[in-house]
Symmetry: C2
Amino acid sequence: MAHINEDFLKLPGAYLFSEIAQKVKAFKDEHPEADVISLGIGDVTQPLVPAVVEALHKATDELANGATFRGYGPERGYDFLRKAIVENDFQARGIKIDEDEVFVNDGAKSDTGNFQELLSKDVRIAVTDPIYPVYIDSNVMGGRTGVLSSNGHWSNVIYMPCCAENGFVPELPHSREKIDVIYLCYPNNPTGTTLSRKELQKWVHYALEHDALIFYDAAYEAYIQNDDIPHSIYEIEGAKRVAVEFHSFSKTAGFTGVRCGYTVVPKTVMAITKKGDRITLNPLWNRRQSTKFNGTSYLSQRAAEAIYTPEGKQQIRQTIDYYMENARRMREALTGIGFEIYGGTDAPYLWVRTPKGTTSWGFFDEMLHKAQVVCTPGVGFGPAGEGYVRLTAFGQHEATKQALERIKSQIAK
Amino acid sequence: MAHINEDFLKLPGAYLFSEIAQKVKAFKDEHPEADVISLGIGDVTQPLVPAVVEALHKATDELANGATFRGYGPERGYDFLRKAIVENDFQARGIKIDEDEVFVNDGAKSDTGNFQELLSKDVRIAVTDPIYPVYIDSNVMGGRTGVLSSNGHWSNVIYMPCCAENGFVPELPHSREKIDVIYLCYPNNPTGTTLSRKELQKWVHYALEHDALIFYDAAYEAYIQNDDIPHSIYEIEGAKRVAVEFHSFSKTAGFTGVRCGYTVVPKTVMAITKKGDRITLNPLWNRRQSTKFNGTSYLSQRAAEAIYTPEGKQQIRQTIDYYMENARRMREALTGIGFEIYGGTDAPYLWVRTPKGTTSWGFFDEMLHKAQVVCTPGVGFGPAGEGYVRLTAFGQHEATKQALERIKSQIAK
């Protein structure tokens, strides 16, 4: 009988958000009258903007007509979209990225999960703690992480704790530790904190000096308000030699259901064979994608193109402002009643210290049972997330307001 | 510096269809006046049917409205689609498949490529020769195939040649060979041939007896005309204990640009740990998908649902009949001028023996230069494809007719 990939069996059974969903369901079954408000899972609520809607209708009509029908698209994604990406997300910021360095995908989760396939099993990864679980889980499946210790850390992964005590700025690893790949996500999921240009420069320098790769997840860059915070790691000199960058339209334009994003693999980013030959990752990623992926829906690619039009840009900006208004109100209200709050100024996430040393799950239960508000336990993102919960600004204004009132009356002392 | 996954470097540089595209481009550059007709790559040409177009417009309008907006979908795909799949593709044929055994995806290529991840590196695979390249290439990336021999075979893969001499029916492997996974694709890409119910029974019995898995690609089942040919391997008693089945709407409903398909992983299909514990693959595949994939576009899922409505069924049947009329004309015309033809009666592909012992690529060049018709060299699908080319029935009627006339006047003697 076929042997299983036993690395899969090392993964803890439940995925964080499934566990939350089960607890919420159990509560609702017991309290059918309760009006539960979710500030938990990071899903958007506002409709697609008119420019995107128009593009989707138009693309549908194209596929309905034999003269304009399109089947399989180009392996890296359509030229029209890669051109819009290069011009707007990079050239406009003074960054030179070639169109064949951009790979359109069906969302950042797939590519952040799959990119490790290009690397050997002996590669050592470093991650911040807390962290978006996909970076680690995909490396568990890839056999690189060792065993799960009782403290919640994998034995072969290097963790860089981010907490209030260090201002949520990860420290550079000790020079004696061999590190091949560093995962960074800024603006950060889950903490909502950011890295300044100067802080990010340190990481690029570290990677250049130590021949490490940086996998940079920029899924939340559209939420940045402060000019000193880089939108792309390629704003930093030298980054094109060490960094792969992942983008998503999920949060930028409400595409969590539409599915489209992109990955940038500069032709100067390399890995090495055992013999010492340097290999360019760009064509290898293209080979991976053309073998195990067949492109994103034409409709989704036309929808993504529309967010780069003048109307599209203005409309998605309004939606982002809508969510950031939630974030502002949440920060204000929660700070006002004595909570210790991080993030939420350049990101749609707030990272909230639980009161009186309650555990993350303990506070999750309290919030659900007393205020009927769903949050995400910080410990679900890693041991350093213990004692925090994540709140998201993706709700409707009215629901968010209600949630804050309930927290004020039911939770705060 | 990070070590590369050297298994990726074993892959031959060019993907078959990229090589064809380059040759066609070179010809067109030299002969800008030439009207090249492609009967090569397996892409559809007919527009989406009205039921699908209507569903896409409707779904777009749902996402344009805050009250009906949807973000992330369920991990296995929406209930409405899995229900339609189970009822129409299985219950209607007397097969019991549970909804949680169905995983909606973005097309069969992704899942046929990715499913091998669940298995250990020491798993031995068997494939027909010729074969759809993704099955092998994804296993090369997975480190299972050994080295590429000069005869075009990988040292650690078991090949089952399919050619005119054995009626394109693969022979059961010798009992002394350890085989863990058998890839079967019927109706077959590239040969267009099929397996009868009785032949498929032999494979299920073999798998049950030898504790092997069957990865069954049913992407072309909608083209079956003959009642004796199974549409699903689960029509065979016992198959639910050994087979994973891949479906695609790409050819069924012209979704090559829309991207939707599904995979069936019965809860009775298992693999084994080194210690001997049997592990159910269904939850493991769910874990893989919820970590490294985030679902197919809501729009594509609504589009797929529409092909199961009475109007949708009738409309996609008309498109399939249109293509099969091409196949009939191609068979008739080519047979009439002395070509030896296989397939094309229950599949959109014709497998054509090259005349006078010409090689596949030799005949490809002759067709391109003399008749300006693009075909696919059979050898691109494996060594046993040498001496054949694949023609597809996915063209427009008029273009297909012209291509046949040119072949008749320029190629036939």
